[in-house]
Amino acid sequence: MAPRRGPGGKSKAPTFSCKLDKDLGELSGMLVALEEFAEKHGVSPLQTQRITLSVDELVTNIIKYGTRAMEHAHIHMWATIVDGTFHIEIEDHGIPFDPFHEAPVPDTTLPLEERPIGGLGVFLVQSLMTTTNYERTKDRNRITLTRSLTAGGQEEAQ
């Protein structure tokens, strides 16, 4: 089920939505609000951190790269919790970029001296989320994430 957008939806499912400017300070504030939303609705601290980190990594990339050439850009985000699953949608008007297929996959087995600096963000999202999806519609990038709240709550992801 896709997240319902805003309070106009018929669902009683808790929803969170916000619009950000491309600003890292706004992102920090949004992440704290998202954490509070998750905790208020009974999401465990571990699951909350997985969700917050995933949103952070993707929106950071949108701000730093996807909308770099744009003087002003807005990033929209929606979240909802339905049937034990946390749903997230992130939309932006930046350059077309599918992080889940275009971002290089890091080799996490390399020794310290051979490890490149950076490039872990999208890999973390794919490891921490249950599903990840990207689509380009008209002039927008849309990322959809889900995290099952009933599985993988305690054991380590790896």
Binding site: L24, G25, L120
Partner: protein
Amino acid sequence: MNLTDETKNGVLVLSPQGRIDTRTSSEFEQAVMAHAIGPDGATQVVMNFGGLDYINSTGMRVLLILAKRLAGVKGKLVLCEMKEHILEVFKISGFNQILTITDTEADALERF
């Protein structure tokens, strides 16, 4: 993000508190490098994460830079007191294979 420092048995113990995200990671990087790198910088470093609530990949990048630089001068970095969600992310990234991570600060100090 706040970073405190103290020296115990000749080992520099750095303790970041709060949140290290994309906005605060450059501040974290500058503070860490000021203590641990440079002409009078320490080469034996413990990073105590007990007060750290959050770190993203830009913060992890700083730790990788620090670990590489310390390895280059025959120094050492040991991380300790990591919260469960932070340890999970370090394991996914394979950082537990290239960095030393201990439960307690006392365990960390024994590694030197």
